[in-house]
């Protein structure tokens, strides 16, 4: 890189020098690692920095190392110091110590010497590989947790593609087991309100018919812990997740306004000296206008969506694209500033052509964004097996090429609609089977063994005795299971009959009946809510007993049942349709009230921006259960062909003849 740079300095004139150096600087700042807010502060100082550095470029740039470049002259060091102080003021997380900044600088220097630019900077699509992470391990322990707060608001799944560049190569430089968080909008499964409602109304079944006994439910410890868990569950500080889409929108707006500014500035500033340009310019105006319109519409369609998940690490493709956009726009502005604004260029047609080329480039970047963000992962390449750790519910899904964090978000989307709801009450074997006490065997040693063998021998015999004794527990389990199943089926039968009978009590009131029946006796006309309440009473007891038997009583309060009944009555549903909600545990989404976020933690042995590979395992953890995801590649299919002529389908009878000779 050094020799290349020196060639550049010798052969080209000064302005192009400044241009190329500023572009290299842009590349440097844009692509190599930097902290989010560090970069933000750099951007805010960008213009001043660019101008000042352009004077400073000349002597030190001939050296090979950027480290020397940064530290060679006092004004540059003061720039770095001012940046550092700004960083402290903004109160970055733990990992951003001065040590890490010096690490960064040495890393930059090292990579620069390795020829990290390499001439392919123009593509921008290459991901830089940082130096081996052994020297970065000292900060890896902090980064996983401390970056939860800063990164969670800076990476989104579906935000606007134009955003500030984040230090994306940080992700790949840090290795080790870490857990980072994904927040998905949603709500805790057990609404605090519904549990409280349960506690009040849990004996509603008994009071509506005959009082047979007292309800044994009360606010137990479990409910309290559950409620406190729900409060922890909700995602804090809702406005933080809109911060980076807002920044992205700013960049996007800036990029969209740029061509118009390119066109408008000459007209405003030196209108008199401009060469008039007729029809070709107008043609370019029209194409410019339509391309901008198409850009606007497609940006709205593709990228302006509210984010559905906050990812723990940067979304690499999106960062790449934002960096690309920023580079394009900045370099176009730079060139414009140097070539057009300063010398007050009079060839207006050239300026319009320049603006049109910028719009073309933006359209192509949008095409690239479409392919990278939306299309590439559509073709299935891997099969993910998702298993819930508590009850073994599992599903298989086909996904395409994704990074681990994107795959995790996708899996969670499917989880909420595919997996039956997690019911902690259904998990455990009855205590009577599991906690068979070991009988108190008193073991006497006969005096030959010494005391060191004593305890192990004793425990071994006790374990052996206990193992022999436990032979009958499977028997008990079997009978207990059969008993439970029989009870559930009996209650289900009673419930179905009660609901069917209840539904026969009402029918839809037709308007033409009104005139017929009103002279005889006025029938009471009810709205759906009243009708639901009217027919709820006969089925309430059976419903409650059934819910108790299947341990679902915490998910359905009386209020929710009456609401559902009202809904079914309004839409002319049959009793069976009303019951489908209670007879089988539905997907988790059914029990969610989607106003609050759900907190998930992604636990992975590899950095979460790594692409999916065969044999990877990662897990998504919630407070009381987790989903373990295993990645397997889809097999390669060799498809052959065989042509069968339809006329070749012929048959004969099977002969079995016996001849006597």
């Amino acid at each position: 890189m050094g020799p290349v740079m020196s060639c550049v300095t010798e052969n080209t004139p000064q302005s192009a020098n400044i241009l190329t150096r500023s572009l290299f600087l842009l590349l440097l700042l844009g692509v190599f690692p930097s902290e989010a807010l560090l970069f933000l502060s750099v951007m805010t100082n960008y213009l001043s920095l660019a101008l000042s550095l352009s004077f400073l470029f000349l002597p030190p740039f001939c050296t090979n190392s950027l480290f020397l470049f940064f530290s060679s002259s006092p004004p540059q060091a003061s720039k770095i110091d001012s940046l550092r102080s700004k960083v402290d003021l903004l109160r970055l997380p733990l990992a951003l110590s001065t040590k890490s900044i010096s690490n960064r600088k040495s890393q930059l220097g090292v990579v620069w010497e390795k020829g990290g630019g390499g001439g392919s900077w123009a593509g921008g699509a290459r991901k830089p590989r940082p130096p081996p992470a052994s020297d970065m391990d000292n900060e890896s322990m902090y980064s996983g947790y401390s970056y939860k707060s800063s990164h969670s608001r800076s990476s989104r799944k579906h935000r606007d593609k134009r955003d500030r560049h984040r230090g994306k190569s940080r992700d790949s430089s840090i290795r080790g087991d870490k857990s980072v968080t994904i927040q998905a909008p949603g709500e805790p499964l057990l609404d605090a309100e519904s549990t409280r409602g349960d506690d009040r109304d849990d004996n509603w079944g008994e009071t509506t018919t005959v009082v047979t006994g007292t309800s044994v439910d009360s606010v137990s410890n479990e409910d309290l812990t559950r409620m406190s868990k729900d409060l922890e569950d909700s995602s804090p500080l809702e406005c933080r997740r809109y911060l980076s889409p807002a920044l992205g929108a700013v960049l996007g707006l800036f990029a969209l306004v740029t061509p118009l500014a390119f066109l408008a500035l000459p007209q405003l500033l030196w209108r008199d000296t401009l060469e008039p340009c007729g029809t070709p310019c107008e043609g370019l105006y029209i194409s410019l206008a339509f391309k901008l319109l198409i850009l606007l519409i497609s940006t709205w369609a593709l990228f302006l969506r509210s984010p559905r998940a906050t990812l723990p690490r940067f979304f690499i493709f999106r960062c790449l694209l934002l960096a690309l956009v920023f580079l394009f726009v900045a370099s176009y502005w730079l060139f414009y500033g140097v070539r057009v604004l300063e010398p007050r260029e009079t060839d207006y047609r050239g300026i319009v052509g320049y603006a049109a080329s910028l719009v073309d480039a933006l359209l192509f970047i949008q095409y690239l964004a479409l392919v990278l963000l939306e299309v590439r992962h559509l073709q299935p390449a891997f099969c993910l097996k998702v298993v819930r750790t508590t009850d073994g519910a599992s599903r298989f899904y086909n996904v395409g090429h994704l990074s681990i964090q994107r795959a995790a978000v996708w899996v969670l989307d499917q989880y909420y609609s595919d997996f039956p709801v997690y019911n902690p009450a259904l998990l455990n074997l009855p205590k009577s089977i599991l906690s068979k006490k070991m009988s108190a065997f008193k073991v006497y040693n006969l005096g030959e063994e010494n005391s060191t063998n004593n305890s192990t021998g004793q425990s071994r015999t006790m374990i052996a005795a206990a193992a022999r004794r436990r032979d009958n527990s499977h028997n008990e389990y079997y009978y207990e299971e059969a008993e439970v199943e029989r009870r559930v089926r009996k209650r289900k039968a009673r419930l179905v009959v009660a609901v069917e009978e209840a539904f026969t009590h009402i029918k839809r009131h037709q308007d033409e009946d009104a005139t017929a029946s009103s002279p005889k006796h006025p029938r009471e006309v009810m709205d759906p809510r009243e009708a639901a309440q009217a027919i709820f009473a006969p089925m309430a007891r059976a419903m409650q007993k059934y819910l108790r038997a299947t341990r679902q009583q915490s998910y359905h309060s009386m209020e929710s049942i009456i609401n559902h009944l009202q809904f079914c009555v309004t839409h002319n549903m049959s009793p069976k349709a009303f019951l489908e909600r209670y007879l089988s545990p539905g997907p988790t989404l059914q029990y969610l009230d989607t106003t609050r976020g759900r907190q998930w933690t992604l636990v992975s042995e590899e950095p979460v921006t790594a692409a999916l590979r065969q044999g990877q395992v990662f897990s998504l953890r919630r407070l009381d259960f987790s989903l373990v995801v295993t990645v397997a590649p889809l097999p390669f299919l060799r498809l052959g062909e065989e042509f069968i002529d339809p006329k070749r389908h012929k048959f004969v009878m099977k002969l079995q003849s016996e001849t006597s000779v």
């Binding site: 099977k654 002969l655 079995q656 003849s657 016996e658 001849t659 006597s660 000779v661």
Partner: protein
């Protein structure tokens, strides 16, 4: 056994003298099988793809029974003609040639194999 493969079995020679019964010369047994028949229906064969000719019935005190033919025997040759790859009709024709009085059959049955093995086991081969 599939077509074309060589095999070796222990065979027994049986000579049956045809009996004149009215206008016909009869042998006193019935055959089944053939390459045009369904081998899966054969109750006597071990290998259900064997399409050879099998003896399915022997009439009491007929010439076949007296000559030593048993039910379930597979006929390998008749008078030198091969019977392992013939159609049912061809087999019938070779057995009922009007100008032959005697048919010399080579038959095989499972008990023959075991008897030979048993005898070879007890007596060392010279």
């Amino acid at each position: 056994m599939s077509a074309g493969q060589a095999f070796a079995v222990v065979v027994q020679r049986i000579e049956i003298r045809k009996l004149r019964h009215g206008d016909n010369l009869i042998l006193g047994f019935s055959i089944g099988g053939g390459i045009d028949q369904d081998p899966g229906q054969n109750p006597f064969s071990d290998d259900k793809t064997d399409k050879g000719i099998y003896v399915t019935r022997i009439s009491q005190r007929g010439p076949a029974e007296e000559a030593g033919l048993r039910m379930g025997d597979k006929i390998m040759q008749v008078n030198g003609w091969d019977m392992t790859m013939v159609t049912h009709d061809q087999a019938r024709k070779r057995l009922t040639k009007k100008n032959e009085d005697v048919v010399r059959l080579l038959v095989t049955r499972k008990s023959l194999e075991e008897a030979v093995k048993h005898s070879m086991g007890s007596y060392p081969r010279q």
